[in-house]
Symmetry: C2
Subunit: 231 residues, 2 copies
Amino acid sequence: MSSSKQESSSKRVSSSGQKTPTAKSYHHGDLRTALVKAAREVLLETGAGKLSLRAVARHAGVSHAAAYYHFEDKTSLIAAVAIDAFEELNHATKAAYEQGGSLLERSKAMFAAYINFALEHPQAFRIMFLPELRSDAVRTDVETAGRQGHEFTVSVIQQLQQADQVVKDDPERIAISLWAMLHGLATLMIDGPLYRNAKTQQGRETLIQTATDHLLHGILHTANMPEELSE
Amino acid sequence: MSSSKQESSSKRVSSSGQKTPTAKSYHHGDLRTALVKAAREVLLETGAGKLSLRAVARHAGVSHAAAYYHFEDKTSLIAAVAIDAFEELNHATKAAYEQGGSLLERSKAMFAAYINFALEHPQAFRIMFLPELRSDAVRTDVETAGRQGHEFTVSVIQQLQQADQVVKDDPERIAISLWAMLHGLATLMIDGPLYRNAKTQQGRETLIQTATDHLLHGILHTANMPEELSE
DNA sequence: ATAAGTATCTTACCGTTGGTTAGATACTTA
DNA sequence: TAAGTATCTAACCAACGGTAAGATACTTAT
């Protein structure tokens, strides 16, 4: 019944001659992206778990049934929001990495950017990892959006290995360990028992600093702790 | 209106003479714990985000309004489920630690137990870290239930430090780093991009093994990797 | 024992939600 | 300009969280 409608209307904003870009005529123009944007805005006031499709449609100024011409499902709308947020996160981490400093400093800035994104956009961050976006039958789009960030991390690890700064382990596995550490720290800070420690900017930086240092240097006594990185 | 009712009826199962322990009379006996138990069972078939108070009451054989005499809120019921699950997790990790082997082996078994609990009870694990259980006004009970596990981890770290196996850093911070790593790995495995890698028992063990090793030994080239732990 | 008081449960109701269907409106294209 | 199609609204449904009023049973004082 409604199979290929989403694709056919995806990116077609300024094709025909409309009076205003935000045309308020019967047909909206690009309701799909407008709904995603509206969802991000509604998300700022509503919990991620209680995000209502009807509230999003209300915010966009359309009836809730209109949304079903652009998204198969409420979950599909949420998935689109998640992909949008993933792209934003990927952009933020890349931007942090491409700033000045040594290779290791830029890497650490990238690590911090991941957590800072979670702290600055907690609702979006929660959406990105909602269980129903994975367990559902086919949701490969969200998966690929998430994997892009992972692949970038792998490339950073490889660069660090080529510069002889990181052990020559499987970069894929190192990236996973790194991601797990960052992701765990972020979720514990926004939804877990660390959310009290993360209230002040000082507390956040300390948490990020010590955790990444522990991963970088190890916590076993047999591993030495050089001071060249305490910076 | 309903302030001290929950406390007054908490633990009073076999006080008066009832014919059967699972008395199906008008008054239930201990509906509160029955609802928590029912919620855990319903949770096995329903997603954690879509857990319905009415379905839980239905499963327990009572009307949904009856639940409101034992829980202020749907969130309060979920909080009780989370506390129940936290206690189960704490018990599992302690049990893993108290098994045979060296101190480090027992510690690593405890780390693995955390992730295995998440993999074996993903729905309960998700409930434990639902955002609404933290951001809500006063939900200190869930917090303390979660903190108990953390404090136990701190004590394990301290034991490792006394045995000269772990650097003499602040044990609190080390425990946080450890928890972040384990928690991140667990969530990425059940709700994140690693859930494909975690389908086989082999894949899970490899993920746990390499990640904990990375944290224990560090990934920087300046840190050495002793083989006494590769086991 | 009995009556009053209280805790717990059911039934009935409310507004909101996710989702579907039928019909209205506008864009597209021949 | 007419037919066809995409997109929207209005109306409807079942299920949900939550509340209020009344039914039932346990408790306790007398």
